[in-house]
Symmetry: C2
Subunit: 232 residues, 2 copies
Amino acid sequence: MKVSTTTYGLLGLLAVRSWTGYELTQQMRRSLRFVWSSSEGHLYREQKGLVELGWAAVEDEQAGARTRKRYTITAAGEAALREWLTTAPQEPHFEIEGLVRLFHGSHGSVADLAASMDATADAARAMLDEMLGFVDEYLADGGPLWMLEHGINGATASEAGPPAEFAGRPMFPGRLHVIALVIESTTTLLASVESFARSTASEVRGWASTTDPAATPATRARLEAVRKRHRR
Amino acid sequence: MKVSTTTYGLLGLLAVRSWTGYELTQQMRRSLRFVWSSSEGHLYREQKGLVELGWAAVEDEQAGARTRKRYTITAAGEAALREWLTTAPQEPHFEIEGLVRLFHGSHGSVADLAASMDATADAARAMLDEMLGFVDEYLADGGPLWMLEHGINGATASEAGPPAEFAGRPMFPGRLHVIALVIESTTTLLASVESFARSTASEVRGWASTTDPAATPATRARLEAVRKRHRR
DNA sequence: GGCCCAATACTCCTATTGAGAGTAGATTAA
DNA sequence: TTAATCTACTCTCAATAGGAGTATTGGGCC
């Protein structure tokens, strides 16, 4: 079994508390989908992998007539996570089909290209709205931020007892600082995609064709602006 | 054989001229790697797929003692590309390992987290620099922009003869308008990654620990700013 | 009170894709 | 002239995606 970023994504969740397999899968989807996506089937496979590696332990838990699997991190798992965090991250990557269509847009119509850009903008906006929902939860009274402001950290070993809950979910307010940074980064990126896709849509709608020679001065200005903006 | 965005990425290149398999692979790497990456082996596999689909034709070309494969688009291939351009694009996705590390950063040290963020910023900057190299080429005298400004479009069927060349490569200046938009979008995104990764690095370096309670006011301000900035 | 739909809680299979090794001629720089 | 790098691919195995399949449970609606 080979370890991947997905392995550590799950391991990191297990480092905060124990989860059932289903919860782990849902939580990965909720929180890391926008920056590191994997399929549901693969997430379950990776959970088994964690046990095989000795990084987590499973036990069958009774829930009515059926059983579910509860995963708990081991000492070896905690060590593996700490070790991973000291290594260098991979290059960031984007996967934006709309830009592939834009790149080949000269072979299609202005209307289709503009529609593609609008669809990309809409998708980015929908993702952004989903993230904003988390922000509202975090800012709500009794939520993790409120807990921090009332001295409940939850992520330090010095506090005894079970974690505080909010909206039926256990909260670990001490993690909120890093999570807020992830949210800020991700929403910035999504807003950037929405913004350029939307303005590209409106730009190309002004063209007579997808190879309109009349766009030449705008293209020169655009390339020069890119060069100027990013010159180091 | 199932078609994917990669299939259409190759098909779009073939719609501008004929290429050898090696050239196609290099060109995909050069131009679409940042928005749609695939492995080298897979690109060769997809080229065979295009022939199987009847969207491209191959012929063996003699080059010294060895042969290489020259791919040419067919009428069916041109139709398939036009058809694809009318359909809706997929959701955009990011794959940013640095943000997975940030999300789980509360389990590691401040120094390691800051180093991860700096490494992510460095990688984004390197990618951005590579794109700026293209911009310089496009803006150079005799380059595609210069051609446009001298009435050479190259992408319209009305112009007879072989395409004009620049720096040993055939140029299709009419495509420059869309390409400039792709470059502007991609560089904006990369600059955004560089910027937030860099500022996150400096932010966390000011923390006493990765769950430092002293960060609470900054975290509140951050979440409120996100909510305000993106409220629709 | 019973029915239906959605959510819970997974497993399993097939097809796609990635990653890297392998082969061999051609060209460039020392 | 030799070594390294580039051209120009093929091939294989392992990783991953995507979706079908199974069965229980909880909630809402008539």
